[in-house]
Amino acid sequence: MNAIEVRALGKKYPGFELKNVKFTLPEGCIMGLVGENGAGKSTLIRLIMDAAGRDSGDVRVLGTDNQGPGFVKIKDDIGVVLDDARLPESLNARQLGRVFGDIYSRWDTKVYEDYLKRLDLPEKKRVKDFSRGMKMKLALACALSHDARLLILDEPTGGLDPVVRDEILEILEDFTRREDRSVLISSHIVSDLEKLCDYVAFLHRGELLLFEEKDRLLEEYAIARLPEERLRDLPEEAVHGVRRGKYGAEALVERRRVRVDLPLERPSLEDIIVFFARGEKK
């Protein structure tokens, strides 16, 4: 079964349009959704969770149509963490646990309390007195304490220091040890996603420019560093982006489409994304 299936999804706002987005996240996999601020990541997540009305397309989550009558029940299997945590701020962590205990049918207080201890979160302090990192950790503890099969995280590591970011990524790695668990995580910190993801989707100005398995992406593409005048020797269909500098040029190329003797370097995920985003060709 697929965790998420999105087909031809569209949504129009004044000044922004999410266009024809399609991808499939197989069960048990982690997908990183990359894109600059305003690219449409949060809109896409809202559409997947049916928290916004779509103009076109279909979305199925854990095998259920997200606008069908059964989707409310399916949300019991989904843990959601949004940027800024968005938890009721006048409550403390203990009260929040009781509230979510009434909302999720499989809420496990013991698991929640263990997470609070593990993440060093005070039980009696109000959420509004938490730092941003603490709020995000609390939101994650809430999302992980009801035996979710799918986690949807919108910028969970944005604006956090590297220690907290690492802590969060570690928890997500733990979560995906069970094979039936899937994660959709959006971020513009590509290095975080590179560590974690099986699939990468790149959203740019409302369009899905890229959706690919991460390992395949890293194998398929390479960076060719060469003098600018030699750029024209590269087959046009092989080049996906060019960066010109003082000391020559860099081109993102498809390995299989260029000459074998051409010296190529392995790109990072960030390199690939940047080349795709700029889109400049020869």
Binding site: R46, M49, D50, A51, A52, G53, V72, K73, I74, K75, D76, I78, V80, L82, D84, R86, L87, P88, E89, S90, L91, Q95, R98, V99, F100, G101, D102, I103, Y104, S105, R126, V127, K128, I152
Partner: protein, 204 residues
């Protein structure tokens, strides 16, 4: 719905205790007209609860939780109803406790009649305000509320000065349950409106 109700109770306990205190103080005043303030505070409470949700953006997380839109809307009403019911019981108890040792117990048929009228006012105000709040959010809702309070006050003053005797005669011929029925009818009409408004707001 239980989870949202619990959340609102916690919020009320932490920031809304002043409402309860003021409401109780008003109910202690033997002049029955003051109980109407309690109705006003019931509506204000709904506004404050929505405002606190919007401030921390919990209202954007809410549609992603396993709670149907119908239940989200109903919880707002149920919380208001429970608040009105608890307040009415507290008002009766407070009146009995404070005034009966002094040999003056204002809780009689007239008091209960006025209380029914106040409950009716609270239900009508809640029924009018919640669809606006759920459709447009607390900021616009507050604005509309302020305008409507001014309008209602001006209309009441006009009616009192012009047709005081007519109003009195209508009131004397009306039974307490008539008021409660009117309040319930307004609530029943208001819920589908709120649901439609909330759906529209989410689907924007």
């Amino acid at each position: 719905m239980k989870g949202l109700f619990r959340k609102d109770l916690y919020v009320l306990r932490s920031i809304g205790w002043l409402f309860i205190l003021l409401d109780l103080l008003f109910t202690l005043i033997p002049d029955l007209r003051f109980f109407a303030f309690a109705a006003f505070y019931t509506v204000m409470l709904a506004l404050v609860l929505m405002q606190t949700d919007e401030q921390c953006k919990f209202d954007t997380l809410l549609p992603m939780l396993p709670i149907s839109r119908r239940r989200v809307v109903l919880e707002r009403y149920v919380f208001g109803w429970v608040y009105i019911a608890v307040l009415s019981v507290l008002a009766l108890a407070a009146q009995a406790l404070v005034w009966s040792p002094m040999g003056h117990l204002p809780v009689d048929g007239g008091y209960l009649m006025m209380m029914s009228l106040d409950i009716c006012i609270a239900l009508v105000m809640e029924g009018l305000v919640l669809p606006i709040l759920l459709r447009y959010g607390s900021q616009k809702g507050r604005l509309i509320l302020i305008v409507s309070i001014g309008f209602v006050t001006a209309m009441s003053v006009g009616l009192m000065s012009g047709g005081y005797e007519t109003i009195l005669s209508v009131l004397t011929h009306t039974r307490a349950w008539h008021f409660l029925l009117l309040g319930a009818a307004v609530s029943a009409l208001s819920i589908p409106l709120s649901l439609a408004g909330y759906r529209k707001r989410i689907e924007q």
